[in-house]
């Protein structure tokens, strides 16, 4: 048993105060404290500080109704009807209810059946992807271009132009109104999700031209009230995720995934606030670049490129 010096003892004192040291370290540090006035003072002051903080912990208390409010918010999300939440594809003339592939996360049920039969908002969120007639593409300014593909570059350009001026062609917080406006202006049905449970509110939208396609763009504000998020709703795609793919992306929001949707490679990234989906039309290499571009854009610590998670 070697005797600790003061700098080692000071660190051990922290563990001693917290009751986290092994028997041998306790003996060593106690032995040192008995012979060292400074470390005795360190020990006394640190232990007293811990007591003090513990005693002051109760100075902040949750408002009596916080539990009620949180429960209400959970209930709203759990019981929300799809018609109110996202206007499923069935509500759009000329389209049947969206069905996911058998064995998908909704087990072949319709969107509505599934949402009604489950209370997990995760389903609602995912259902928004499945049920709406398009996919979302959300981009950050930084590093989004990356030269990944003409599509990506065009997106970055649009984003830049949109953030400079005239970002909105229509301003509304009502997702139904926004859906109607976008549908009129792109010539096909568009369903804009409310995304309330993600803390986002629709702010307005515009039509953008990418790759020769007119794409509807819905813009959201987050509850922090900062810049609008940019969301593209591109028609003609149904998006489905395997449970594994979804959950891994969901888990702690720190991963980028590769998904294949109707033959299109996509990077899927969830930062915990917004689901970011990036489409690449350039095949595997462009896919990798696009994934990296997303990773750069959103400051991901580690980007894992996984095998295709979605089969379609």
């Amino acid at each position: 048993m070697t005797a600790p010096d003061c700098s080692e003892a000071a660190r051990l004192i922290t563990g001693l105060v917290d009751g986290e040291l092994g028997v041998e370290d306790v003996a060593r540090v106690r032995d040192h404290i008995a012979r060292c006035d400074d470390c005795a003072a360190r020990h006394r002051m640190e232990a007293r500080l811990k007591d003090f903080l513990r005693a002051r912990a109760g100075d902040v208390r949750a408002a009596p109704d916080l539990g009620v409010r949180v429960r209400a918010a959970l209930a709203r999300v759990a019981e929300v009807e799809p018609a109110e939440a996202f206007r499923p594809a069935a509500a759009v003339p000329g389209r049947g209810p969206a069905r996911t592939p058998a064995g998908g996360i909704f087990g072949g049920q319709t969107f509505g059946e599934r949402v009604r039969s489950r209370w997990l908002p995760l389903s609602v969120l995912t259902a928004a992807l499945v049920g709406m007639t398009g996919m979302w593409i959300t981009l950050e300014t930084r590093g989004a271009g990356g030269g990944a593909s003409p599509f990506m570059e065009a997106l970055a350009g649009v984003h830049y132009a949109a953030t400079q001026a005239g970002i909105f062609q229509v301003r509304t917080q009502d997702p139904e109104e926004l859906s109607a406006w976008l549908s009129d202006h792109v010539g096909h049905p568009v369903t804009v999700p409310a995304l309330t449970e993600l803390g986002l509110t629709p702010a307005g939208g515009r039509v953008v031209d990418i790759d020769g396609r007119h794409l509807p763009m819905a813009l959201y504000r987050d509850y922090v009230g900062g810049r609008p998020d940019l969301t593209l709703v591109a028609a003609g795609h149904e998006v489905a995720f395997s449970p594994e793919g979804w959950h891994t992306a969901q888990e702690w929001g720190r991963r980028v995934h590769h998904a294949r949707v109707r033959g299109e490679d996509m990077a899927v990234y969830d930062d915990g606030q917004t689901l970011w989906i990036l489409v690449s039309t350039g095949g595997e290499d462009a896919m990798t670049l696009a994934t990296r571009a997303v990773a750069d854009a959103v400051s991901v610590v580690s980007a894992d490129l996984e095998p295709a998670a979605t089969i379609r």
Binding site: S7, A10, R11, I13, T14, G15, D18, E20, D38, A41, R42, R44, M45, E46, R48, L49, K50, F52, L53, R54, R56, A57, G58, D59, V60, R61, A62, A63, L66, G67, R69, V70, R71, A73, L74, V77, A78, S117, R118, W119, L120, P121, L122, L125, E197, G199, D222, Y223, V224, G226, R227, H247, Q250, E251, W252, G253, D271, G272, Q273, S299
Partner: protein, 192 residues
């Protein structure tokens, strides 16, 4: 498991930690409204992800982990919006010197007695997040190193060293604040 059972499970495993999560949220953000927003968001996320939670494992650590990640996400967002300096880049000034070591026990006690709630808040908020979180979890919520390590995703040794540095900075700031509240400077500095 039926939906009703699942909801009951969520109540039993997660909702019971509401008060502790709120206290921690308040200590992390320094504001009541932000803390309430953070708690609300944490519960929504936990609710969504409850499928992923393995029953019988540590629900409290799981919920705190979601809280902290949600908090960091918000901080990240604000950094991007306002260009603030990332918290972890600001290392606390922690020299080898420990200027208050010579304080007489009575003086130290008297100083702590003068510390106001606002002082506690300011001192905690002055700590970089990495330190603030472990101090709040260990000292205010009384969590063990193992649980904190799980929540913050760092090794147990790092929990201890962050506590060591965090507490020292906190003590210095609290003592300074208490001195500003009017205890005689002579008395406060007598033993240094």
């Amino acid at each position: 498991m039926t939906d009703a059972e699942r909801q009951r499970q969520f109540e039993k495993e997660v909702f019971v930690h509401l008060d502790a999560l709120y206290r921690t949220a308040h200590r992390l953000t320094g504001h009541r409204e932000e803390a309430e927003e953070l708690v609300q968001e944490t519960f929504l996320r936990a609710y969504r992800a409850f499928d992923r939670y393995e029953l019988g494992t540590n629900a409290r650590a799981w919920a705190f982990r979601i809280l902290r990640n949600t908090f960091l996400n918000q901080v990240e967002r604000r950094k991007r919006e306002y260009g603030a300096v990332p918290l972890d880049d600001v290392e606390p000034v922690l020299g080898a010197e420990d200027p208050d070591l010579g304080l007489a026990p009575d003086t130290y006690e008297e100083l702590l007695g003068r510390v106001l709630e606002d002082d506690v808040r300011d001192a905690l908020m002055a700590l970089p997040e990495a330190y603030r979180t472990v101090v709040v979890l260990a000292d205010m919520e009384g969590l063990a190193y193992k649980e904190i390590a799980e929540i913050v995703d760092i090794p147990i040794g790092t929990v201890m060293s962050r506590l060591f540095r965090g507490r020292r900075t906190l003590r210095r700031d609290l003592v300074e604040a208490a001195r500003r509240h009017g205890i005689g400077p002579g008395a406060a500095r007598s033993a240094t």
